[in-house]
Amino acid sequence: MGGVLVRPIILTVFIYLFLKFIVPNLPHSAPLPSSLIFLYLMLTTAGIVIFATLSGASKDAFFGPIFRFLTGESGGALSSARYLVLALFPLLVGWQTYGSTASSDAPPGENRTIHPAPPGEYTGLSNPVPKTLDNINYGKGLYASRCSPCHGNFDGKGFAAAGFTPPPANFKDPTTIAMLQESYLFWRIKKGGVGLPVEGMPWKTAMPRWELEMSDEDIWKVIMGEYDGAGQKPRTWDESE
């Protein structure tokens, strides 16, 4: 094989190893799903092909060895390797086909929408409770007794959190409650997991339906306490709020 192919192959392998083994071991990280690794490797391959075909000379240098290998012009030991590839390729296709069509007891891939759209009746609501220190502290108290067993110190690491998949939300994460309006949280707390639409997979969450335990006013206070405790601000359309 031509030397010009070595660098792209090394680059692709390096990126795969980086995504598979290094990223999961970074602080606060976790293994990447294969769908994401595949996506990034496709981008890498696209980049390699784009760069290799910028000029006629680089295109020939890149694809020439592949064509010569596949057509048997390379000769020598590569001819035997060519027969091996030609024999293995149909087997690979067969294996892939079998793998994608054979029945399996593995559950299907999960595609859960974490923040589905709320019902229309909740979209226009605004928090009717004044944002006083007393109300915020009262809400934090309710949070401590009702929410913290799962959501912990606003970081999703309550003592019961380990028992749930998916785990309780981490409110300190800037991509959770900071992206949402207070009315959204009101809906989620009031109706709980069972109130989620299908794309939110209501069967995948143990969030209780708090309207059975708390008044609307208390729920609004919990929301204020939650934002304050997590150091986040709700999404608003008015800077003065």
């Binding site: 976790a30 293994p31 799903p33 760069f51 859960r112 929408t113 759209a117 991509t175 639409p197």
Partner: protein
Amino acid sequence: MMNQGQIVTNHGRQIAGRVALLAGCAALLAWVGLPDVALAQEAAPQAPTAYRDIPYIGSRNLVWIIAQLHLLLAGFVLGVPIFAWLCEIVGWKSGDKRYDKLAKEFTKLLTSSYATTALFGGILLFLLIGFYPKLMAYLTDIFFPSFLVYCGLFLVETATLYLYWYGWDAMAEGSGKKFHIFLGFLLNVFAFFIMIVPNSWATFQSSPVVISEGSDFARAWAATWNPTWWPVNIHRLIANVVLGGYICGAYAGIRYLSAKSQEERYHYDWMGYVGNFIGVFGLLPLPFAGYWLMREIYQYNQQMGITLMGGFLSWLFILQAMLIGVLFLGSNYYFWLGITHRIPGSETQYRKPIMAMLIILLLCLAVWMTPHSLVASLAEAQQMGGTHHPLLGVFGVMSAKMTVSNLMVLVTFMSFIMYWRAGKQDTAGWAKVAKAVMGAVLALAGIAVIVLGVWGYFVPAIIRINYFSTSQVGIVIFVMLTITPLTALLLKSAKTTTEMVWGKMPPRAGYALVLNAVMVILLMTLMGYARSSSRVHWHVYGVMRDSSQYAFSPALGYAAALMALNTFLFCMLVAFIFWVATMGDKAKAAAAGAKGHAEPGGIPAMAGGSPALDETARDASVGHRPI
């Protein structure tokens, strides 16, 4: 004499025969595809018909296809005059006749494409009246005054188009040319209003403003000036420029691939460059217009905003990222191929900067394409702690997307600047200072965009939306407004070291142009579905509920299949329009060929590459012409 029983039996037979005949006719009518006239849901015998359906394909699918084709054709018909008018002005100002010829070539397409667009508009109107009579009665009640305005606009647009097209040669010189350019301006002004009037009907369905009092005109005006009207107007206007440019590029690409003479290759290579340039010119501000539109939608209604950006339609935006990514890569690739093939000897000189730009583009694209909720197996989701990755999940939100889209716009702009400067040597004494300033502006802008993007995670959403995102856009615009005139000034005194050679691009450049056009069309079909589906089960959001059997959002896979079908049908329609419009040229070229000379544009536009192109691209033995 027949007895009573026989009479009844015969009468019964007659009735049965007639019923059978009627049933047969009904079956025949259904078989030939006439709409099913049965009421959909309403059981009351006197209730007005709310919906009608059509067998097999279904009313919604048929309206979807026709509406999408009409919109794409309308985008083409409104984009091409902008493209042609800009080319005509460049040709008039620069004295370069090629631009005038290009403008005329594309205006010729308008006559047939205008008629086709109107035809699909008429079909769509009949289908809407037939399938959704209740909704159409409601919309007519609100918008009737603007229906009249729309008709008036069509009349003046048609008259102007005829004058513009048929008067081209008669007004080719002097004050006649100035008047012709003024006609082109009027054509585009009327076309703009033709676009924004129906935009008001469509945006009203998403963000209705209904007032119960006042005159018909006051009600229509209030409904027209709804919260998403202007964001959609601006977004569509820019998108139409992009569509016009890339379709011109695709046409040039196909003609280039089938070109048989060097003169043709020269012409269509140049045309492809112009098409790609105008496409990119429109593409650069498009993400900003899209962002403004989404902001207005979210602000108008949280449910609609989340449905689009975080709910079940959010996967469309990952598809959108892929398509836009391919478009950015394709446009830059075409610029880079231009540098390496049109400017001999520049390959080694620009290889490293191209590699750097490619890496930045791919990294940005990786971030843009990373979803907030990942597709994962149960085991993978357990390892991650849900479908949200604890580290890369931060790429899934708007702050990251906005940052990388700005960076991609910057890189694409720099690709163009690099192409513009290639093959020229600065001679001005202040060139070094100017280049240092440009480098510093670019580096600082890149850093500022990234810093604002990261900082955006630590401030309230409203601060990020109102200040950080707009500042990022402002920074990118500032870079363009600084570097473009500086480069133009530098190039005024620059010495040309290597002349640009046209007609030497490899076949893959032609395919890249076609790919770009297909990506734009797919993007428009995708966003059409997104805009329409964001209303969920409402005809008019929050006002008139969809109570038909189709009051559900089709699955994304199903929608993607229809998007692909619509893209294919539109490409076929455009190919047909090009074929019809160039039929006369082919006959002329055949006649000219018989006399011993051929004109560019006279060869049938058949897809497929010429294997000789790669060879000729390398041999570079013919036709050095300056840009």
